[in-house]
Symmetry: C3
Subunit: 157 residues, 3 copies
């Protein structure tokens, strides 16, 4: 008869996503679940962190029309055609790069949504409700985007 001994799990992974549109919700759930299985985590947390200032990580339902409602919500809060001081290149002097984008609205959208989400793992399974899915939200694409994923807790061996 085997005895299962808990063992500390602390595993980091990065994934890169090539986004295809200006605004896009990319469902990461299957990838996160595969990483949890690969790490052998039985219980703990997985922290999913975007490494960009015009993307977000959110959890909600994967229903295509709802995702367009989310875009409408963000645009109402910070319209694309409003005036942003971040985009005023006559005044701005900080963090300027060649080909600088006019993306003040996208930073605002990212600020409202947040750049990371922590999900629980229990009994070897990612804890997600029936309708919950994890998304990378592209807010100023298309671009290559990197996501840092930390898997922390205990496994069994």
């Amino acid at each position: 008869m085997e005895t299962l001994v808990p063992t500390a799990i602390c595993r980091h992974r990065r994934i890169r996503i090539e986004t295809g549109r200006e605004v896009e919700f990319i469902d990461l759930t299957d990838r996160i679940e595969a990483l949890a299985v690969e790490a052998g985590i039985h219980a703990g947390v997985i922290n999913i962190q975007s490494l960009h200032t015009t993307t977000a990580i959110v959890i909600n339902e994967h229903e295509p029309l709802l995702l367009t409602d989310f875009d409408t919500l963000l645009t109402r809060a910070a319209p694309r055609d409003a005036s942003y001081r971040h985009d005023d290149m006559d005044v701005r002097t900080v963090n300027l790069t060649p080909g600088e984008r006019r993306n003040g609205y996208a930073h605002c959208h990212a600020l409202l949504l947040g750049s990371s989400a922590s999900l629980n793992v229990a009994d070897g399974r990612l804890q997600l409700g029936r309708w919950q899915r994890v998304f990378l939200v592209e807010l100023d694409g298309p671009r290559a985007r990197d996501i840092s994923i930390m898997i922390l807790g205990e496994g069994v061996r």
Copy 2:
């Protein structure tokens, strides 16, 4: 003389809340503190995760009039009587269930607030400022709602 040895803590709990109104802030703080004590955690983090797409977990002050201000804020950002494509049953084909609710606005409110919160524990106590309380926010109730709570860190024995 006893020596205290740190021991790894990784404990998962689920709690169910029966909400009573369409929009409701349910103070979870005492329940979270009781779970921390029960788990014997001395230091670490507690990740509180709602398992629904029309609820949120937030931390703010438990002052009843302020909670109505929060409802007003959300309604201003995503009005109940606005048009949501998620609610257009003539067009929508995905994730349809019998008795589907018109709740596009509630998903938008949940998106803005976020579905989880991580609280620190130190010296055996949940780290909360004087006015901070942890809430489950019901945004499309009343319903039965499940919350996943992961307690991760170290205890002493």
Copy 3:
């Protein structure tokens, strides 16, 4: 030849910030990185939690004009001159203190931004993208503000 053995890290720190303006973004990144080094963390998560209900912890770009855009965004969502029931001292009876501030709008701003952020650590380094910085957001200052920081994961010795 040395063998590196992973060792559990669970370290808590508090820092106090004296804010100087009503609304202010205080860049905490260098302080967080110094705490990570001091703790000797090789991999894991750092949870940064504000202990107040009119502050927030956010991650975005440190470009001064963008920070004024963020203030504009918050003011649009919850205007300073709108009416908040939290500020109606003729009606309110809960959590009243001497010199109570009219700060319903600041609580609303804090609610939208969130009171904590979890950052990953891997290969001994805080995982932050090129433009990402961690901010304490003062929303009702100036005041003394406390931040709780939990560093959880593994080091090597």
